[in-house]
Symmetry: C2
Subunit: 315 residues, 2 copies
């Protein structure tokens, strides 16, 4: 499928709470360079744009300028892609209601695409990663928080206002644990790093402090039954989440990313089994369940692929 | 927006467990005639097609024949709209893996659209009912069972295999009550007629037998505190379901139909409040929440609007 802007080099950036990752794709979508700088998270919009554009400018070849490229920027938090505004972002307190696209346009003359970082992740995995070739992909990022997004017919579903793709705050367990958002039983409260640690601590009867998912995986690799059980229960819950999403949306594929996906071998088989055995149409085709393939670059790659028009032209 | 088949008269049918409702729309989408016959639910495909086509034929004017019309058929159960097959339908045991579209084509020469009845409901409400003019509508039918569907950019999202739109079997409460499907805490287990009756019976400390939602509404109208509380809790749960759907999909509008929607005044305000106060972007626009407008005709109207191509042409 040919899309506007194909054939043009692209720059992408992924603004997180600690680092801005960015990179360059050639006209065929191949990664040709990457760059990373620290995020000035609290200083406000101007210093952040300085850091962002400084990092992107290192990716220019001699003679190139901003208008050589299509540029996309993924950002953690609640993003308004239509207006190009960072509405709020817990890890970027300097950016409340920040008109990031306008600020970039003032400095470069370019109308960059702005989108949520997890949406960018899903777009990258759907087009170039674990979901490539699939018509409909639901991505979930399991990390400190839980995010995700939906790609239908090769394009992000951004929703009426551009806010779609926040599955982390869909409730799955109305009487479940409190979420950081103040609600109960959100996907994030059940599948975040903290939730996995808490699950292990409860099973093992130990204190939670210092228990990361990486440490729980290490213990699982030594045969620790509590660690294996904590991952298995995490898989069961992920499977129930995918079951609900499948009954609602019938996607071709789920792509699971984020820090917890490094432990995919401990929880993804259980999640797949839950989905496969409980799906209403389990006699028909069951959605594929895959671990993400593009690693920490997926965010900036997805932003680069979004290009101008992801959201902004569809409003 | 102009769609293929606009300008042509349409026939629609809605096959339920007890009745086949059908009707005729003129070229402008106005209802010009309706008809209803009993469903031969257990006798197999041929008697059902006889009843269906017999009812539809009463809607012909002199000189008209099957090829005067576009025809759409909505059917309860798991429907494969791409292949035109009723995969399974609990209330239509005669139709397991029944090639309904082929059977209609053999008798009429027409390739009818086949779709799930709740999807048809949502399409009708999105185009001509409570969701008209909206870009994205999520419909939920709360009745004996719980169904629904999704309309994005004016078209049904049918999913990879055509099975999308079964929100009734998305889990909302992992430790919740058993659902008829065998899973726990499905939307249907929390919002069906049976769930409302059971909620009231528990609150009032009475036996559930004979307590219909209509009776609970009657008691609510007399000020029965348990009845009001049962409806309010139903609204809270519906609000949590809409909250998750909003965070995932950011729709413009929810349309609530089915038998329970006759009691909308007792539960919809609470559902709306739950959504409005807990939405992540409650400072921005909150999705509208509306009771369905087209009544029991919505199913056949939506089927008629689907026309050939709903699903079948998009595979």
């Amino acid at each position: 499928m040919t899309r506007p802007g194909e054939g043009q080099a692209r720059l992408g950036a992924d603004i997180g709470g600690t680092a801005i990752k960015c990179g360059r794709l050639d006209a065929d979508g191949r990664v040709v360079a990457e760059q990373e700088v620290g995020t000035p998270a609290r200083e406000g919009l101007a210093p952040l744009v300085d850091a962002l554009l400084g990092a992107l400018a290192t990716l220019f070849a001699p003679g190139e300028s901003w208008d050589t490229f299509r540029i996309g920027v993924g950002c953690a938090g609640l993003i308004d892609p239509r207006r190009g505004v960072v509405v709020s972002s817990p890890n970027l307190p300097g950016l409340r209601r920040a008109p990031l696209r306008d600020a970039i346009r003032e400095r470069t003359g370019i109308a960059a695409a702005l989108l949520n970082d997890a949406n960018a992740f899903v777009l990258a995995e759907a087009r170039l990663g674990a979901g490539r070739g699939m018509r409909s992909v639901i991505g979930l990022t399991l990390g400190t928080g839980v995010g995700g997004g939906l790609v239908f017919d090769g394009e992000l579903w951004e929703g009426e206002q551009g806010f779609a793709g926040e599955p982390g705050h869909a409730p799955l367990s109305l009487d479940g644990p409190l979420c950081v958002c103040g609600r109960r039983g959100c996907l994030e409260a059940l599948l975040s790093a903290r939730a996995v640690s808490s699950r292990y601590a409860t099973l093992a009867g130990v204190a939670e402090a210092g228990l990361t998912p990486a440490e729980i995986s290490r213990r699982a690799s030594t045969g620790d039954a509590h660690a294996l059980a904590a991952w298995s229960e995490t898989g069961r819950i992920l499977g129930q989440a995918m079951l609900g999403l499948s009954h609602l949306l019938d996607p071709a594929c789920f792509v699971i990313g984020g820090g917890q996906s490094r432990a995919a071998s401990y929880f993804l088989p259980r999640a797949e089994e839950e989905l496969r055995t409980q799906l209403l149409w389990s006699d028909e085709r069951v959605p594929l369940v895959r671990a993400a393939e593009l690693g920490p670059s997926a965010g900036w790659i997805g932003a680069a692929l979004a290009g101008p028009g992801a959201g902004s032209d569809r409003a």
